[in-house]
């Protein structure tokens, strides 16, 4: 399989970079090559955050994802900025509790996930990102389920061990949508 290019984008504070780190670690746990590149600088301070993740069986050239196979958009500016860049046949996940706009492309697979609302309804504040990740796993099989669980063990620091079950719950909600 060639390189899978993933672009994750939203507001600062939605856990976009953590979502990317989880995806990257899951790739690593599957023994694949991975890169993770955050946006840094003014956009981090001014609202939007995005993060490129590449998962590949070969050495990865540019870690900067220009044309994603998978786009996760968690706010409207991100969706508008990147929707035309998604490769034909690609997958787009839209947090429809934040973005009420529909995507008008016919050549890509779009899933509307009310992640932020589901997180709030289930007592999982701040874990809309993990709901998106669960859905992303279900629709793209970008990694094995086991790898995602191992990634969780790597990414949640021991001092936040109480977050482990909540993250698992959020992932489950996403993967069952």
């Amino acid at each position: 399989m060639s390189t899978l290019n993933i672009l994750l984008a939203g507001f600062g504070g939605q856990g976009i970079l953590f979502l990317g780190k989880m995806a990257a670690y899951a790739g690593l746990m599957d023994n694949r090559q991975i890169t993770w590149l955050p946006s840094y600088g003014p956009e981090m301070r001014g609202g939007t955050a995005n993060c490129s993740v590449c998962i590949s069986d070969d050495l990865i050239g540019s870690p900067l994802v220009i044309n994603p196979d998978i786009l996760v958009a968690m706010n409207l500016p991100s969706l508008e900025k990147f929707i035309d860049k998604v490769v034909p046949g690609g997958t787009v996940l839209v947090d429809c509790s934040i973005i009420d706009k529909k995507v008008h492309r016919e050549d890509i697979n779009v899933f509307y996930v009310p992640a932020t609302r589901l997180a709030a309804d289930n007592g999982l504040p701040g874990l809309a990102n993990m709901i998106m990740l669960g859905k992303m796993l279900k629709e793209t099989k970008f990694c094995t389920e086991n790898a995602l669980e191992e990634a969780l063990l790597k990414c949640v620091p021991p001092r936040k061990a109480d977050m482990m079950e909540l993250n698992r719950k959020a992932l489950k909600i996403g993967s069952e949508l």
Binding site: L28, T35, W36, L37, P38, Y40, G61, S62
Partner: protein
């Protein structure tokens, strides 16, 4: 040891500690700050020194002081900060002191931008400060290499008693990749430094660390001796990586971040039936001329790709010396070129696209 995911900046910092660095003097600047932040967190726990100086100029002179006392010392910054440090780097070179300086490059000139760039090549290889001298310059292209080269940088700084630079960029500093930190057995000072100006209770004559020589003859003699050392380094220390160069018609030359993009472009070109290859310099000074030399006979053209307006291309042209055409493609200001842009340049050289 299992591979972990680390940012380039943090991995480099950890590798420096593993290489015996216990003295780090820094000043914050994007996109380098994680390196200093890592040192600030870690150094106090292992009996090392982390000091945020009042300026870049102060930080480099603290490196000079710690190095004069025989310690492995390091500083890091990004482009504008390196300009400020360049006076101190010249003094370090003029005092024959080892030091490791990290430049996580961003766009320039002036304050420029904060996105990745390779526009400090000339500064690193030609004129990091005034006077007749060279730095050794290493150019990593992966997070793994960010760690591997820092140990080599410290060893060679000590071996040749000169400043060594790691020339990285914002992309490599900010990105995470799997990295295996190789356990080294380094102690704070693995190499004997009988020249160091440290306490000796009058047991020997004083060691004097100085860069002021008012007699022209004495200064000339010293500089010439240094240049003899540089000739040894040019012979012994050239490093480059080659990819599909053996039968290549079009040979790309690129270092650091841009070499990764070129590798992708070479792969795509090969699929199109174009015999492309890549030479990736790992040492920028000494320039790995011998790696280019051996391909001049069979290559039809060279293509130098940089995240600058064209700086390393000067060295490629010096090596090729008119024997084959040398083309250049670059993006600057913080733009990372796309593999397709590079592929297009390769096609142009084969006459495929007019």
């Amino acid at each position: 040891m299992a591979k972990v995911l680390m940012k380039g900046n943090e991995a480099l910092a950890e590798a420096a500690i593993m290489a015996g660095c216990r003295h780090f003097f820094g000043y914050p600047i994007t996109p380098q700050t994680e390196l200093a932040a890592y040192m600030a967190k870690k150094m106090p726990k292992i009996g090392g020194v982390y000091l945020q100086a009042e300026s870049e100029i102060a930080a480099i002179n603290m490196v000079l002081g710690a190095s004069a006392a025989g310690k492995r010392a390091m500083t890091s910054s990004s482009s504008p900060g390196i300009s400020l440090k360049s006076e101190g780097i010249s003094y370090i070179a003029g005092s024959d002191l080892p030091a490791v300086i990290v430049n996580v490059q961003r766009g320039g000139p002036g304050l420029g931008g904060i996105q990745p760039s390779q526009a400090d090549y000339w500064q690193a290889t030609r004129a990091t400060g005034h006077g007749d001298f060279h730095l050794m310059v290493y150019a990593p292209s992966t997070v793994q290499e960010m760690t591997d080269l820092v140990a080599l940088a410290f060893d060679n700084a000590d071996k040749y008693r000169m400043p060594v630079m790691i020339l990285s960029d914002g992309m490599l500093g900010q990105m995470m990749e799997p990295v295996e930190l190789k356990t080294a057995n380094a102690t704070d000072c693995p190499i004997e430094k009988p020249w160091a100006a440290c306490g000796h209770r009058n047991s020997r004559p004083h060691n004097v660390i100085n860069s002021l020589y008012l007699t022209p003859q004495a200064l000339e003699e010293l500089v010439k001796k240094r240049y003899e050392k540089y000739e040894v380094i040019k012979k012994e220390e050239q490093m480059a990586d080659e990819y599909l160069t053996d039968d290549a018609d079009i040979i790309l030359v690129a270092y650091g971040a841009s070499s990764r993009i070129c590798r992708t472009a070479v792969n795509t070109a090969r699929k199109e039936g174009i015999k492309a290859g890549l030479i990736r310099p790992i040492t920028l000074w000494p320039y790995p001329a011998k790696y280019i030399e051996k391909h001049i006979a069979h290559a039809k053209a060279f293509l130098c790709v940089e995240m600058s307006m064209g700086q390393m291309v000067d060295d490629v042209r010096l090596c090729v010396n008119g024997r084959k055409p040398v083309a250049f493609y670059g993006r600057t200001g913080g733009i990372i070129p796309a593999p397709d842009e590079v592929l297009n340049e390769i096609r142009k050289l084969t006459g495929g696209v007019k």
